[in-house]
Symmetry: C2
């Protein structure tokens, strides 16, 4: 990664992602110019200090952050207008885009980006210079990509706080099918079954159901686009899911060993997911604490946890069925769990592991 | 629910669930007797103050908390030995059990229980009198069940802190297939696909993947048993899942409207899941805060959040890829989100919604 900030950056499209990148670059001392065909977005982004609306003569980098349908045309215009500029975009699916751009003049100066960050909201008012902080930022390339262009995009991803990961555009699409798009479909399939269920059945729902179905609550139009634009990769993985599902349907109640093998492959899969500092989920233990459900109690618990000097790896809170108490689950490194239980118990909490 | 504590309670099986129930009943002033064929378990439970190992002449209630394979024989012995006792068990699947017990002498005095609580650990040392606090406790019946026996089990479920939900044994099994067993299978199917994926692909994993796959990391032998014992109900729901999956496979990249309808039914399903105090997920907003990843910072954030007087509905923490900062997501009622952002920003945090 280079250390010097790149020359002027032009951000085209002042939505959530474009404005957030512009804010972060401006904070880092980079000269940022802004463009948006919606003048209201442009004015808002400028008013938030994201950059200037003045035209730029020779940007070092152009970040195309327009809606998916406009990406290719905007990248084309940027490559033609600024013959020395590196051009990137922020669309969430890359291979087809890369193929269409490869035929353009200057395509070696194009590098794809997919910052793995977002918000429930959109537009320049929802933007934040911290949006990319600690998030993976995929930087996607093709065989003809100029390595200097790649280095420039990697540098910018790092400057805005992201964790740049360089990969081939097709590899990226296979990866997001696996870690994002297919899990989304499975979350949807679990949630879809709840329609028409009696309320008393749903009253038995626990934290597991809420975890599995959480992302199914996301914007359906957005996901219709995302899945559609990565259809081949997602379909390929879903075919394998279907084979596993058939294995479960066939073996359940009939062949416990075969069912067990599918369950085991799932458990093995969870151990491959990177956690904090490389800590595998299996090294963590959960401490359960009952917390009265009114303002301040959770803060008190957190302060006491801090006094124990045990670092918190994760926290989950369950509020159940209108009872005046919540269950807080604090994940810590397994070796520290008893220390935390003792510290909290000594301070009057009902804690156990 | 009755208010007087029931007469003597006999707990057979001093594992996690039995000992936890015994501890909670003893704390509530109920006379508790304990039995376990493993004398070490019995001694540990007694030493923890869960009750006495002295025999009981006439228990009002017998809680059978032995492993699944021993439930019917133990319930049979209890019904025969104590002709005035109500007998319950704590197995997680109920209909088949109910059918087998219905033929026994005294079966009208049997009522099923399924406390929706657990821990990663097992045995009497992992037990806690607060294990059931705020958790649903299904109380399952058949047409021949004595209503007084049902009332007694409902009372005990409430005394130990659970939220009793009375339902037919078959309805219970359909319900847990829907809200627990099938979501578990879908979590496993998402996680199973990760095997063999290159590390750089997995590096793109975000919080969505971790949510969907979390429960797939659970004990596979336990889930082999649970799924096998509710095979018919789970298979029936999975057949519908398969139809939806085929709809997705067929429509992705080909029929966006059809794909959109499946996504919509998933989103609709998430809105049916009961949240805190009946708050639907849709009424909540998320505030994002960047937190340096060392002990005490999270406590400081929680204390400041408490000062804002905004009540926390949920907290999530993301630690990404070894960066020295974590992203904390605080869910609050949507109308309070801006108040919280302002309060945290004023105290020096990088917060946005």
């Amino acid at each position: 990664m280079t250390s010097a900030p790149p020359g002027p950056v032009l951000v085209i499209g002042c939505g959530l992602i474009g404005t957030s990148a512009a804010l972060a670059l401006t904070e880092a001392g980079v000269e940022v110019h802004l463009e948006d065909i919606r003048s209201s977005n442009l004015e808002l982004a400028v008013s938030r200090g994201a950059g200037t609306a003045d035209p730029v003569a020779a940007p070092a980098l152009v970040i195309v952050a327009v809606p998916p349908a406009g990406v290719v045309a905007t990248v084309k215009r940027a490559l033609e207008t600024w013959p020395d500029a590196t051009v990137t975009d922020v669309a969430s699916v890359k291979a087809e885009l890369q193929t269409r751009i490869t035929d353009l003049v200057g395509s070696s100066r194009y590098v794809g980006s997919h910052p793995m960050a977002g918000s429930e909201r959109s537009g320049p008012m929802a933007a934040s210079s911290r949006l990319f902080e600690g998030r993976p930022w995929a930087v996607t390339t093709a065989p003809g990509t100029d390595p200097q262009a790649t280095a420039r995009v990697v540098a910018v991803a790092g400057i805005v706080g992201g964790v740049p990961l360089v990969m081939d555009a097709s590899a990226h699409d296979r990866a997001v099918a696996l870690v994002s798009h297919v899990p989304h479909v499975l979350s949807v399939l679990a949630a879809a079954r709840l329609e028409g269920a009696p309320e008393e059945h749903l009253a038995l729902a626990g934290p597991g159901l809420r975890d599995v179905t959480r992302i199914a609550g996301s914007d359906t139009a957005l996901w219709q686009d995302i899945l559609g634009s990565n259809a081949d990769q997602v379909r390929a993985v879903l075919q394998h899911v279907r084979e596993d599902l058939d294995r479960v349907i066939d073996s359940i109640g009939a062949d416990a060993d075969r069912l067990g093998r599918v369950l085991q492959s799932g458990q093995d899969g969870t151990r491959l997911i990177p956690g904090k500092h490389g800590t595998k989920v299996a090294d963590l233990a959960t401490v359960f604490v009952s917390v009265p459900d009114h303002p301040g109690e959770l803060s008190r618990l957190m302060a006491h946890t801090g006094e124990s000097a045990v670092n918190i790896e994760d926290i989950r809170i369950d509020h159940e069925l209108g009872r005046p108490v919540g269950q807080v689950e604090i994940a810590v490194v397994a070796a520290s769990a008893d220390t935390l239980v003792e510290a909290l118990t000594a301070r009057g909490w009902s804690a156990y592991r």
